[in-house]
């Protein structure tokens, strides 16, 4: 211990931090984009990180002074988010994704390899302050598992050999970056994509490309013609578009709930894609940001919002840069900004980066975070549509939802309804990862049989293995067993109703396929560890319960639990359901209960073995 303590990396902490004048101006510019100065807290911490390499104590005090908040609040916010660089982080922060798909692809081995090569323990920093290795939660790159993030850059499909090579290169250079991420889209012959139609095309992220393929026409038409916003709402309502973020709430309905008062209205784009297994929004934002911006324009017009914020998760810096550039491009063309499309409407779009908190994907948590607070969800009612961001009526929509808008308005609700099912119309991007031959994003009409997706479209289970379980909608959805997936009656279709009837949910459409090699206890531990790590800590049942069931699952995975602990896990999980402000506790409890119930025999056998040994 003592040897390690002496060799541990201790950074020098300066007595005070002060922004350079130009950074100071930048901060003021950022503050100007929010109605309250303290809302610029997260971007301000990013500035600290950029300017001084990390967020440290004097830096926090400086930011507190600049934003007029207390240092403790800054400290509280900073400790809430995991993605900011700590003073103890090394020059290169190697963040290994440890969540489901990556874990199944062997991220644990990558992590251990890195630690071993650097001679440090997980979470530690080399004594020279050069390298830090840590495990992080889902990096939204599940089809490229296992995934590694070096500072802010992604490295896909890392092998142990890659690790050694990269470490060598990083040792040699002070400013090493991995090669830019390449994108792929698996072939999907059955259904021509709508949203994903152009993502792989060269230059698809440029406004020229987007405009050339007919982009911004819908928005321009709406803005210039001065259409009645309620008409647009009605159109969306008739199209039956349901939220693509997870809950599946009808978007038009949500818009109609907006409080009728004279407060400013806000449109917030939920780009905090952090549900394990989901990686659709990342692709859209990285490759086709203008599609989103056009969607934002339409939605903002419809709900009479004059300010839109894109809350993008901190782990997606490239996406944030793409969006910012796209906004600048759109501003240059007069689509965004004062007097958009010459309509007299001033529309400001701001990209707001999160910093590593799954709970900020929950809409009220996201709003708290956007206000510069810890990402604590708020009690509903009042719903954000009545009292949301800065206590004003606010609409929070998912990236994919907004991306659907241009085509809906272009082709009309009937066209949209012609795809998918009666109650779940339209197409949806399904992010398939895990044990399938061709993982990736598939845009399919809702109502596609799950079986068909796995076996026909994705090419089935590789290596001649058989199916064991499927997570149909991100790790917060209850698991489906192979029998349930393969059954023809009822046939499980990928739409909101069919999955709800099967006792699970569509969620964000993140499908993780597990073959028969996996140990369900390991999977459960992995999932529950994620929720324990991501619980905001506000409500007692969630704060304590997620940790408890994760520890229980941990002992089960290690085989040191008792058979009676299976029931205990089930009961403890049940105690969390419906007792909290947001649904994170339910999101942890429901899959946990489904796993221990559906795979009880496997758990019992394992634990009985463990006790015997």
């Amino acid at each position: 211990m003592s040897a390690q303590a002496t060799s541990a990396y201790v950074p020098d902490t300066p007595a005070s931090r002060t922004f350079r004048p130009e950074v100071s101006d930048e901060l003021e510019a950022i503050c100007a984009r929010y109605p309250k100065r303290e809302a610029a807290l997260l971007p301000a911490l990013r500035l600290l990180e950029r300017e001084f390499g990390c967020v440290d104590r004097p830096g926090m005090i400086h930011v507190a002074e600049r934003l007029g908040v207390s240092p403790a609040k800054v400290f509280g916010v900073f400790t809430f988010y995991t993605h900011y660089r700590r003073p103890t982080d090394g020059r290169y922060s190697l963040q290994v994704c440890s969540t489901l798909s990556c874990a199944m692809a062997g991220s644990e081995r990558i992590h251990d390899r890195l630690c071993h090569a650097l001679g440090i323990e997980g979470g530690g920093t080399t004594p020279d302050g050069r390298f830090t290795v840590k495990k992080v939660e889902c990096l939204a790159n599940c089809d490229m598992a296992p995934c590694l993030q070096v500072n802010e850059d992604f490295v896909d499909r890392v092998t142990e050999a890659d690790c050694d090579r990269m470490l060598g290169e990083m040792r040699a250079s002070d400013d090493w970056h991995p090669p830019a991420q390449t994108y792929h889209l698996p072939p999907n012959p059955k259904h021509p994509p709508v949203l994903l139609a152009h993502v792989l095309e060269n230059g698809a992220d440029r406004i020229e490309h987007y405009a050339a393929r007919g982009g911004y026409q819908v928005a321009a038409e709406i803005f210039r013609s001065g259409r009645n916003p309620d008409e647009i709402i009605d159109t969306v309502f008739q199209a039956g578009l349901r939220g693509r973020g997870g809950a599946g709430f009808p978007t038009g309905q949500k818009w109609k709930f907006l409080a009728k008062n004279d407060k400013p209205r806000y449109l917030v784009v939920n780009a905090d894609e952090s549900e394990p297994g989901t990686f659709k929004d990342k692709l859209l934002m990285d490759r086709d940001p203008h599609l989103l911006i056009e969607g934002i324009l339409i939605a903002a017009y419809a709900i009479k919002a004059r300010v839109a914020y894109i809350y993008i998760r901190g782990e997606l810096p490239f996406g944030a840069r793409q969006l910012e550039r796209a906004i600048r491009e759109a501003e240059a063309r007069g689509f965004v900004g004062p007097n958009a499309f010459g309509s007299g409407i001033d529309l400001m779009i701001t990209v707001h980066r999160g910093a590593g908190a799954y709970i900020c994907g929950e809409e009220t948590g996201l709003l708290s975070s956007l206000e510069g607070e810890r990402g604590h969800p708020k009690i509903k009612p009042p719903f954000p549509a009545v009292e949301g961001l800065f206590r004003c009526p606010t609409i929070v929509n998912n990236v994919e939802t907004l991306c659907c808008l241009p085509s809906i308005l272009k082709h009309g609700p009937a066209w949209f309804r012609s795809q998918g099912t009666e109650k779940s119309p339209g197409t949806k991007i399904f992010s398939v990862s895990g044990h399938v031959v061709r993982p990736g994003n598939y845009e399919l009409p809702l109502g596609v049989p799950l079986k068909e997706l796995i076996y026909d479209i994705c090419g089935g289970i590789p290596n001649g293995r058989s199916l064991k379980a499927v997570i149909p909608g991100g790790s917060s959805s209850p698991f489906l067993t192979a029998a349930e997936v393969l059954a023809t009656d009822p046939l499980i279709r990928l739409d909101f109703e069919s999955l709800a009837a099967a006792g699970s949910m569509l969620g964000s459409g993140a499908i993780v396929v597990l073959d028969d090699t996996v140990d369900m206890a390991d999977i459960l531990w992995n999932v529950l560890r994620f929720y324990a790590h991501e619980s905001c800590g506000q409500c007692t049942p969630c704060r304590e319960g997620t940790g408890w069931i994760a520890k229980l699952a941990g002992r089960m995975a290690q085989g040191t639990a008792q058979v009676a602990d299976i029931d205990k896990l089930d009961e403890v999980a049940w105690g969390m359901v419906g007792r909290t402000i947001c649904v994170l506790a339910d999101a942890a409890a429901m899959p946990a209960r489904s796993v221990v119930r559906k795979f009880r025999g496997e758990f019992e056998a394992k634990l009985a073995r463990g006790q015997g040994a």
Binding site: R57, P58, M60, I61, A64, V69, S70, P71, A72, K73, V74, F75, G76, V77, T79, F80, A357, I359, R374, H376, I379, P381, A532, H533, E534, S535, C536, G537, Q538, C539, T540, P541, R543, E544, G545, T546, G547, W548, K551, L552, R555, K568, V572, G575, M576, G578, R579, T580, I581
Partner: protein, 515 residues
Amino acid sequence: MATYKVNGKVAEAPAGDKLLPHLIDGGTHVPHYCWHRGLTPAGNCRMCLVKVSNSRKLEVACMYPVSEGLEVTTEGPDVDAGRQAVLEYMLINHPLDCPVCDKAGECDLQDNTFKYRNGHSRFDENKVIRHTKDLGPNVKIWGNRCISCTRCVRFTEEITGTGELSIVNRGDHSVADVHPDVPLDNPMSLNVVDICPVGALIDKNFLYQARVWFSKKVPSVCTGCSRGCNITGTVLHNQVKRLQPRENHDVNGFWMCDAGRLDHEWLSGTDRLRVTKGDAGDLARRLVAVRDRNGAGSVAMLISTAATVEELHLAAKLAQRVQAEVYFLGKVRGARWVSPSGFAIETDKTPNTRGALRVFELDALPPASGVVDAIRAGRIKAVLSINGIHDADWPEGLVDLAPRLELAAALDVCENDWTKVCGSVLPSAAWAEKSGTFVNRDGRLQRIQPIVAATGTAQPDVVWLQQMLIELGERRTAISAEGVLREALRGIDYRQIGQTGVVLDAPSAPAGVGK
């Protein structure tokens, strides 16, 4: 107003109001941690679960709005099961170190656990360890005990506006903390200890001083400034161990300042006067003798504004009898401090300036410096001081002029330069040792009562002054402080004053008496 039902009984409250305060006011027991009447509700502890007719699941009463026809159930197996579950979660990472926790005995978590849990835990895992450290000069945190209710955080944000506290980390590592370089050091910081529903935040001054179940709690009024915050004193072995605010919305709300809270240490200090020098009757005779020798106005009385209304009344009688000139001794310190929530700390650090104005029927109190001038002028030949302030603003030169006096006498609580030169010194009971009333700056008459017994031969000034008056034939027998109050303010007795006081007249706050 909406009509709703609580456990089948009809109740009324404004629609849209949160349920919990109305339930509590209606006498229903609803356990709660994060909710505090003086703070905005947060709804995060999930303890105040009740069943409402509008919802399938249990709802938290602190955030649920009252609506017409709502039916609320606050007890029964469902509700108890919900609370039990929440308590179980709350306890799994709680260290359960009640034996060494100062909160034990007055801890909400302990009480509710006793009520709802069976003493059994299903938790076999390792507990999360959080920090134990000083948050500031007066407050220490035991992070393991913290239940993240955020009462303290909201207090520093909403009441003091200083925001030194925040919840840091997330999940089960959440704990209240300060920024490492900015300690919790505001004039009201110790209130967070009172509102902490568990033993996470502890008053370092009270740390390990007493187990509360051995101690006694006595209501009184703070004498630290003219605000007159209502307080409760905790006493053990005849020593005041701590002072806490007592709820009074007309004076201090739920709070008090740190200075007032810590203003009890001198009560058992070594400089307290414990031995009588001289004798009350003799003193009275000598005062009269001085008057007889030198004529009316040759005697001065220097009365502190820490004297109770009763003492002032008797002092006025004495002054009349010996034809004394009366001057007043005060204590004015610092600048007025007002929190964003409106809680004020006054500069007049004596509790009864207004009472003195009223009893002596003056518009302004002659300051103590007048005595010095009068002695210098040769007018005053005897000075009797009546002082209950342990560090009063004595007028400069008074002590040096003592040799020019025929008689220097003091009724005082602590030894000071003046009592050292006095021929007669009668030790007085301090505020915590006597009964009496004060009029605060807003004209509210409030009552103190003995928290501890006086040491040595110290007596309340009411006793000393009555002995003097008896000697002079002004009175036949000594009566209680309450009797003196009835005499001083006709028609008011202690029962009427009660625990929260009565307003005497419209306020015009005096600034206190300078040197």
